[in-house]
């Protein structure tokens, strides 16, 4: 069974890139366009990994992380934040909310796969 | 490459045809259709399939130039310009579900005498009988 990944980003191009990269590596990818969308998708299926952007309308990545962690089924699921904020502030917020780690944009497909490899 | 593909076989013009079972939604008795204005004669019309409006096409009129009151509707999914549509095709009878050995698929003979060759994928032998595998997406149901 391919591992299931939920890729959350309000930017379609970024989502597409992430999704295609992961799909070509054999992962089963579901896309969500913001935190709210992600939460409802996370609710209707169990993912092995959540990759989320931070800055999104409706519900951002930090809030999404907090909410996922509060759900029993996502207490231990790896959550990785995709962020352009190279400032340590955002990483810290992500961590505090329960994120497993982060990837700083821009990143290459190789970097994405290498980083995901840490948790899958 | 898939080895064994499960197919639904059906009878059309006294020959056995097969279609990928994953495309099939259901099989129904022929029912009265609501005609579609200005449609070709092989477009019987539309039916209400649990709330969806589904067009019905008679493959016998479309390719073999005969009509019959008998027959069954196979409701299946076709891909058209990247979109999925649900349509019904009318055939003489539905036969069976079988496994087709795709490795043994033979190309359809060139210059097939019937016009149906446009949707033939190839020939495969199942238990000594020749089954004509179809690529349903190749049929242009929606032309005017």
């Amino acid at each position: 069974m391919a591992k299931k990944i939920l890729a959350v980003d309000d930017s379609k191009s970024m989502r597409q890139m992430v999704a295609m990269t992961l799909k070509s590596a054999g992962f089963d990818v579901t896309e969500a366009e913001d935190g709210v969308d992600a939460l409802s998708k996370a609710n209707s299926g169990q993912f092995d990994l959540v990759l989320t952007d931070i800055n999104m309308p409706n519900m951002g990545g930090i809030e999404l992380t907090t909410k996922l962690r509060a759900m029993g089924s996502y207490r231990l699921t790896p959550i990785i934040c995709l962020t352009t904020e190279s400032s340590d502030d955002m990483k810290g917020k992500g961590k505090a909310a329960g994120a497993t780690g982060w990837i700083v944009k821009p990143f290459s497909p190789e970097k994405l796969l290498a980083t995901i490899n840490r948790v899958l | 490459m898939e080895e064994n593909k499960q197919i639904l076989t059906f009878i059309l013009n006294n020959e056995i045809y097969g279609v990928d079972i994953l495309r099939i939604q259901e099989i129904k008795d022929v029912e009265k259709c609501t005609p579609i204005p200005n449609a070709p004669d092989w477009t019987l019309g539309v039916i209400n399939l649990r709330g969806s409006v589904v067009p019905i096409f008679d493959l016998r009129r479309m390719f073999f130039n005969y009509a019959s009151e008998e027959g069954v509707i196979i409701v299946l999914r076709v891909e058209k310009d990247g979109k999925s549509k649900v349509v019904g095709i009318v055939v003489d009878a539905v036969s069976n579900t079988e496994f087709a050995d795709m490795a043994a698929l033979q190309p359809a003979p060139k210059g097939d005498i019937t016009s149906s060759h446009i949707f033939v994928d190839g020939l495969v032998s199942i238990e000594g009988r020749m089954v004509i595998l179809t690529d349903i997406d190749k049929i242009d149901f929606f032309r005017e």
Binding site: G92, A96, G101, K105, N117 | P37, S52
Partner: protein, 662 residues
């Protein structure tokens, strides 16, 4: 460049154009002073996404500009900088510059960097003017002394390490592949002072890395670990005795961030008095609309049994009928509330207008105030999408042709500033949108002369005032003496009217010389349900939109006139063309003798014609289902519906039928 990257780039361009539009409309509504966090946030996000993608997808020319833009907006949203007329103009200007760059990328043209550089400088000047906060973060430790030949790393996972989800062994593997690493040695040991428990990590690792490795690269491998889940120390190995220095990765970050961490969560939780909302995909809603449609059908099927029970004189007839009425009432209520989900505030269309008025009036040296009312009026999503272009066109027209220049206005005793009022409201089951200006009004004599010049009218022809006004909707008509680059862009009012008709709506104009004009658009509340009139042709049922039916008449033989095979019917004093459904649809059904059937007189736009059918049946609300979903568009048919008996019936497209008679 590989094909996939091209696809991503295209998507990036599309969403960036959308982002620019969002930035623009929000900037225009952004008041000066202390920034409105919500609005600035939306603008920031658009800039932020553009910057994020610019690097990833190789749009180098965008990176610096979007970065400065982001910094400026970040200062605004965090309250460090107020909105001023100056920086708002600069932001709007950079939207324009970005649009030029993106368009150049789109068309594979070269990019004019001088404009970009100038814009960057302008923004930098603005940025420099503010007090710069120290950015707080310190860059990587200055530990990189060239003498280092490797590192000793001690990893001591805490009891709950497994909860972090990070695979330590994979990190070690990654470490061994880090640039410059020539050798890694891993010693695994039991963490003696820990009690063995199944979900606790009781192992610890001592790793020796050899090679010329940068500390930052090592840190990056372990960047996700923090003191909560794993104690880690990285000690450089120097050839001579080097002072031991411990680096606790990320720990500093956690401690500074911790007090702030709660802030966004608290603000994001809606207060009790606030209306909370969820986002639902349109697909789910349409599915619901469909299901309710089914329910309506099932309900109408059931209701027939009430009549049947009456005919049977059944003792339970009254109870059944009461129950059926209940079901009907609830179904209707449910249908209404489901339909309301598809509704969106018209502000989505209105929001584009301020920029248009701002730009166009600037170009024409006019002073115009745009007043918008009823932005929260809700319309169906599809209506909304198709409404925007017509609105833009009418607004442009009002600014261009309607409102006079300030001097002219003053000379006519009007205030120098003109007003365009855009309002939306509900009236009698319709959405009404009005565009009202206090400009010069439409010069009807000019319109008439123009029509004569264009051969639409004959010299001396007498027309009513309404007909005179309606001439502006004639194809290819332009009222301006000179076709300006504002309004004369190919689309005329005829296109506006066609778009509105396609939505089942109407448009009318009132004008008063010297006082101004009012454009009134009326649209149906929703597109998914139609009040229908059922008609029979042979054994086939067709449905007319009830609103289009003027009357139905039993044709009298002496009122029928045949001209070259086309039939006309004299209705009181005018002849109207007749469309025979069975001929139009090529169906061998129904009556052929006109006097044996019924003529349904319909009005579509300004065309009035008779549709010949056998008989009329009941009127009922029908749920419109698209034929394209599983088939294709059919000429003369706007859709299908499922009747009470489960059969499908076709809904007539009167616009297409009317084209037949031209």
């Amino acid at each position: 460049m590989d094909e996939l990257m091209l696809v991503f780039r295209q998507t990036y361009l599309e969403e960036s154009f959308e982002g620019l539009a969002a930035m623009e409309s929000n900037l225009l509504t952004l008041p000066e002073g202390v920034p409105d966090t919500e609005v600035v946030n939306t603008i920031f996000r658009a800039a932020h996404s553009m910057k994020g993608g610019a690097g990833t997808f190789g749009f180098a020319e965008l990176i610096h500009l979007t970065h400065i833009l982001e910094t400026l907006l970040d200062e605004m949203r965090s309250g460090k900088r107020n909105v001023t007329a100056e920086n708002r103009e600069a932001l709007l200007e950079s939207v324009d510059v970005l649009r030029v760059i993106l368009t150049a990328y789109q068309n594979a043209e070269s990019i004019e960097m001088t404009a970009v550089k100038a814009m960057e400088q302008k923004l930098e000047v603005i940025l420099g003017g503010a007090s710069h906060q120290g950015d707080g973060t310190t860059t990587s430790s200055p530990l990189n002394t060239p003498a280092i030949t490797g590192f000793e790393i001690h990893l001591s996972p805490s009891d709950n390490y497994f909860e972090s989800g990070i695979d330590l062994l994979k990190l070690l593997h990654e470490l061994s592949r880090t640039k410059g690493v020539t050798k890694t040695q891993i010693h695994t040991r039991l963490n003696d002072d820990k009690a063995v428990q199944v979900d606790h990590c009781v192992l610890a690792f001592d790793v020796t890395v050899e090679g010329t490795v940068a500390l930052a690269d090592i840190q990056e491998v372990f960047e996700w670990l923090d003191s909560d889940n794993c104690h880690i120390s990285v000690d450089p190995i120097a050839p001579q005795e080097a002072p031991k220095e411990e680096v606790t990765v990320s720990q500093a970050v956690i401690s500074t961030a911790a007090p702030k961490a709660n802030a966004p969560t608290t603000t994001a939780t809606p207060g009790p008095q606030q209306e909370s909302s969820i986002r639902v995909s349109i697909g789910k809603i349409d599915q619901m609309v469909d299901m309710v449609g089914e329910l309506v059908i099932a309900q109408s099927m059931l209701s027939r049994f009430g009549v049947l029970a009456d005919q049977l004189n059944a003792s339970w007839a009254d109870e059944l009928k009461e129950g059926l009425l209940d079901i009907e009432r609830h179904t209707r209520a449910m249908q209404e509330s489901v339909m309301s989900i598809r509704m969106m505030p018209i502000s989505f269309a209105f929001n584009r207008m301020p920029r248009i008025v701002h730009d166009v009036s600037g170009k024409l040296e006019k002073d115009i105030e745009l007043v918008m009312e009823g932005e929260n009026t809700e319309v169906d999503k599809t209506v909304l999408e198709k409404l925007t272009d017509p609105l833009v066109h009418i607004i442009r027209n009002s600014v261009d042709h309607g409102i006079e220049k300030p001097d002219v206005r003053e000379a006519n005793g009007k205030p120098r500033k003109g007003t365009v009022r855009l309002s939306a409201f509900h009236a009698g089951g319709n959405i009404v949108i009005q565009i009202k200006d206090n400009g010069a009004g439409i010069r009807l004599d000019k319109v008439k002369q123009k029509a004569i010049d264009a051969g639409i009218l004959v010299e001396g022809q007498v027309i009513t005032e309404k007909e005179n006004i309606d001439l502006i909707f004639h194809a290819g008509f332009s009222t301006a003496d000179v076709v300006t680059d504002i309004s004369g862009r190919g689309v005329g009012m005829d296109v506006v009217r066609r778009n509105i008709r396609e939505l089942g709506g109407t448009i009318e104009v009132q004008t008063e010389q010297g006082k101004g004009s009012v454009f009134t658009i009326r649209l149906p509340l929703t597109l998914a349900i139609l009040d229908g009139q059922l008609a029979k042709v042979g054994d086939e049922t067709y449905i007319f939109p009830l609103a289009s039916i003027v009357e139905s008449v039993l044709p009298a033989a002496d009122h029928i006139k045949s001209v070259k095979g086309n039939y006309l019917y004299r209705l009181r004093d005018v002849y109207i063309p007749i469309v025979r459904l069975n001929e139009f649809f090529n169906r061998p059904n129904g009556k052929t003798e006109l006097t044996a059937g019924l003529l349904v007189v319909v009005e579509n736009g300004d065309k009035r014609f008779g549709v010949f059918v056998d008989t009329l049946e009941s009127q009922q609300q029908v749920v419109i289902k698209s034929l394209d979903t599983n088939y294709r568009k059919v000429n003369g048919i706007s859709g299908a519906t499922i009747m009470g008996d489960g059969r499908v019936a076709m809904i007539l497209d009167l616009t297409e039928l009317s084209q037949e008679i031209d």
